[in-house]
Amino acid sequence: MPDTYFYHYDSYDRTLVSERVEQFRDQVRRRLAGELTEEQFKPLRLTNGLYLQLHAYMLRIAIPYGTLSSRQLRKLAEISRKYDHGYGHFTTRQNLQLNWIRLEDAPDALAALAEVDMHALQTSGNCIRNVTADHFAGAAADEIEDPRIWAEIVRQWSTLHPEFTFLPRKFKIAITGSPNDRAAVRVHDIGLRLWRNDAGEVGFEVIVGGGLGRTPMIGKTLREFLPKNELLAYLEATLRVYNRYGRRDNLYKARIKILVHEVGVDKMRADVEAEYADTRDGLLGLSNETIEAITHQFAPPPLPHRSAIVAEVERQKLEDAAFALWLKSNTAPHRMAGYRIVTASLKPAGAPPGDASAVQMEGVADIADAFSQGELRVSHEQNLIFPHVATEDLPAVYAALGRLGFAEANVGKITDIIACPGLDYCALANARSIPVAQRISNHFSELARQHDIGDLKIKISGCINACGHHHVGHIGILGVDKNGVELYQISLGGDVDFGKTALGTILGPAVTADKVVEAVDALVTTYLDTRAAGERFVDTYRRIGAQPFKERVYATV
C-alpha cells in the first residue's frame, strides 16, 4: 500500500520545509542567547506557528485541507508525547495545537514534523493560512470533485507567496466540492464551491468577504462560475485588490469582509475583474498537465468490491441500540456502495472537545491502517474521519473506537460541541469555553435523548474572535468578561448549511456560567414542546422565532 493517496511532497517542498526548520533553530538559539529581543523574535516564532499562551508556548501545526496519513498521525502522537504533555487539540481550522511546547524544543518538534512532510508554516500572521476543505473529501457520495486537488494547488501557490506575506490581515480560504457544504465556505475570506453548470462543466463559485470574529459576515458571490484552470490567476487578482485597498489603519477593520462591505461587492468585483484582465494571461494559468499531475496524486485508493448489505451489521444493529445509533449518526454515505465514511467522535461525554491523547492518536492511526487505507481527515467540527471503511468492517471499527473512547454516537448531536480552547489556555480569551462544553456534554450525555433531540449544533467561543464559530451555531455561546465575571451570551439560528447560511441572533442578556446548562436545557425543552414532525432545532427556531425560546430561558435562569 502506498503511504498516502494524497499529495506527496517533492524535493522542492522538503527543501523548503527543512530550510525553514534550520532557520528557526538558529533564530531560537539567538533568542535564548539574548541576541534577539522578544520584539524581534516574536514575528519569527509566529511565522513558525509558535504562540505564547497563558501557561506555555503553543505550537499550531498545519494539517493541509484536513488530510492526514496514519503515519503522520503517529508522528503527531510521538511529538506530543516527547515534546508536550502527551495530547493535542484538533481545531476548527483542521489544525492540531500542542499546548505545552518548550521554546528550546520547538525546532526539534518542527524537524520531527518535517520527517512526515508536515510543518507549522502560515498558521499565524497576516498571510494566507492553511487552506481548509470538506472533511469528507475524496469519499463523499455527494461529491462533484475532490476539493483537495484545488486546495493543494492553492497551498503551493500561497506558501511563502512573497506578495501576500504581509497582507492587511490574515486570510482564510475554504473549498468544498459538494453541494452539501461541510467546509463553511460562506464564512471564510474566500470560499470556493465546485459546481457543475448547465453545460456540464465543473468550475468554482467564488465567494468573498465572509468571516466570523468581531464583525461576522456572510460571504458574497464574486464570480458565479470560474473555470478551474483560471483559479490561481483569479485568486491572485482578488488578493491584490485586497492587499491594495484593505485597511491597515485599524486592526478590527482590516479583514477583506470589511473592504467588501465598505465598497460593495459590485465595486469589489469590478476591481478584481480589472486586475484579472491584466493577470489572467500570465504565469498563473493552470495547464492541463499541472492539474492532471496534482489530480493523479489524489487518485482514489483501490477499493475492492464489498457488499453493501452485511448480515452481521444488520444483526448487531438490531441487538445493540448504541451501535444502531452510531451507524446513524457517525457514518455517512460513501461514493462507493459497500463503504461508509466513519467519524470518530472526539467528544466523549464530559471531555474537552477535540482533544486526543497520544495513545488515542496512535489507536486511531491503527484503525486507519486496518480499515481505511491509512487515511484520515480532520473536520472543522473537531472530529477525526476514516474516509473509506467497508460496511462489513463497521462492527470492528466501532469496537476499536469504543476502546479508545471515540465511539460516542453523537456526531451532529447536542454534545458534538465545537469549543475553542478558551480562557484555560488562550491569551486572547475572556472566558472559559471547555468547562462550559463539558457541563453541557455531561448534562445531555444520554444517547437516546440526544438522538431524540436530533441534529443540533452548539458552538462555543471564549471571546469575540469566534474560533469556536459561535455565530453559526444553531445555539451559539459567546463567553464575555463583565467586571471580572464570566458571562455567556446566547445566540440562536446560526447555520452554515449551503443556501441556509445564517448568523445567529442574540437571544437576550448574557447568563452567568452556572446558568448556561439550564439555559440550553430551556432552549431544548422549548424546541421539543413545539417542534413539528421532521423539524430540527434550527428549523423550529426559523418557524416560530426567538420569542418562545427567550421566554422560557429567562423564566428559568
Binding site: L54, H55, A56, S80, G86, P352, D355, G484
Partner: protein
C-alpha cells in the same frame, strides 16, 4: 476573610522564555514559579518600582507586567482576575493524560 481586597497590592509576573511557564518576581529579584514567594508591591509607586525591577531582570522572561492580587490573613496571595487565577493555578479541568483512552 481577605485582608486586603483594595486592588492596590500587586506582584510582577511574566512567562519564562525557555518554556513559557508562568513566573513571578521574588524579593531577591529572581523569577520564581511560586506565587507565594512573589514580592508584593503595596501601593502604586511600589508597583512601578517592582515592574521596573522586573524589566531589568527580564533576560530570561517575556514581557513582565503587574498582576493585582489579594492577600489573606495568613499572608497567602491570590490574583484578583480569573485570567490571572488561571495563569497561577493552571487549567480548571483535568486534561487527558498521554496514556489515557478515557477522559477521566
Amino acid at each position: 476573610m481577605a485582608k486586603n481586597l483594595s486592588g492596590d497590592l500587586q506582584v510582577a509576573s511574566a512567562n519564562r522564555l525557555s518554556d513559557g511557564v508562568v513566573v513571578w518576581l521574588d524579593d531577591a529579584g529572581e523569577w520564581t514559579t511560586r506565587l507565594d514567594r512573589a514580592a508584593i508591591a503595596r501601593d502604586g509607586r511600589a508597583g512601578e518600582i517592582l515592574l521596573q525591577r522586573g524589566r531589568t531582570e527580564a533576560f530570561s522572561v517575556i514581557d513582565p507586567f503587574l498582576v493585582a492580587v489579594t492577600e489573606e490573613e495568613d499572608g497567602s496571595i491570590e490574583p484578583l482576575s480569573l485570567r490571572e487565577k488561571i495563569r497561577a493555578s493552571g487549567l480548571t479541568f483535568d486534561a487527558i493524560a498521554a496514556d489515557a483512552v478515557r477522559y477521566a
